[in-house]
Symmetry: C2
């Protein structure tokens, strides 16, 4: 099986984003995560701030339609801004996936479903390791870190399930699930790289 694209889903604090970036670096391919926001806003000719606000969140019924000034052929008319951002990001992902790369989050596994050579990974870890990581990377107390993890995981879950119709974080939605809390980040990177090359 030839692999050309790695998509990474991840729990907050599992180090999934770091793993994706490092794996891409070692494999000499591009890695896309937050940069997709920038690309999507350019592609849709939209304000990056509005896109960033709506990104990886499902549609909010109180902040519903695309502002009139942003309505064009690519963004669509009268649809929730979150749906529009999802559509724009999906178009960008399909374009980028013409070359080997790593894509973090953004339902890329779903957007690229049915293609061959897609390797969808989910990174998870025990709560203790995740709290530790978030405390370090975001300079928070343990209580704050736990609250952040719960809130952001909930947002990711809702976003993923709203747009893909699949369950976020259950093994059936992915090809491989790795416990970074047990293995450590380096081990996960090694594993992904070794089997990408194979």
């Amino acid at each position: 099986m030839e692999i050309s694209i790695i998509t990474i889903g991840r729990q907050v604090g599992s180090g999934g984003s770091y793993i994706g970036h490092e794996a891409a670096k070692r494999l000499g391919i591009e890695c896309y995560d937050k940069r997709l926001i920038e690309y999507a806003s350019q592609y849709g000719n939209l304000d990056e701030k509005a896109v960033r606000y709506a990104e990886e969140k499902r549609a909010n019924p109180f902040f519903y339609t695309v502002p009139r000034e942003a309505q064009n052929e690519r963004t669509g008319r009268g649809i929730p801004i979150n749906d529009m951002v999802f559509n724009l990001q999906s178009a960008v992902i399909e374009e980028l996936a013409k070359k080997p790369c790593v894509i973090i989050g953004r339902c890329a596994d779903y957007v690229l479903r049915g293609r061959t050579g897609i390797y969808s990974v989910f990174i998870y870890a025990d709560m203790e390791s995740r709290i530790k990581r978030i405390c370090e990377t975001r300079n928070l107390t343990e209580m704050q870190a736990e609250a952040v993890i719960r809130r952001e995981d909930r947002e990711r879950k809702k976003y993923y399930e709203c747009y893909t119709g699949k369950k976020w974080g259950t093994k059936e939605s992915y090809d491989i699930c790795l416990n970074s809390g047990k293995f450590g980040l380096e081990y996960c990177i090694d594993l992904i790289c070794a089997y990408y090359k194979k």
Copy 2:
């Protein structure tokens, strides 16, 4: 992280048992699955047929206690036969795990919890691949195969959850989950072997 024991949980028809046996062969270590029944019955001085009946099933309230003639120090008195078989198998697993090996099923990941060097794997696959495999290996029709898969998976799930208090087949209960339907069995064996040696 040094790995010395691989425990394998698996959905029926995912090829998990084959993967475990082949990985052990390549690594030059022992693999235990149904042989544990034989060892457990020898260890408890019990009839192998009774042990086989109770094995990988949770306690049945209508077939409850250990037969009087089987009661001894190792089997215990007045406990369900399934609990006794679980206890015997656990004792055997703890003994066998003094040397590097692969253990398939039997809640080995739980029995050996807290030890270092344990690498717990769960093998799963889409229903279509599993039906195909069961049709071939057990010479059944597709409908029969699906019924077998549902029934045996249900038994494994109940058994695992009854004795471990963990959820069977959810990623949190394991260190790595592999989709053999996507990767193919050989790929899973390669992956396990490569990271065992590391």
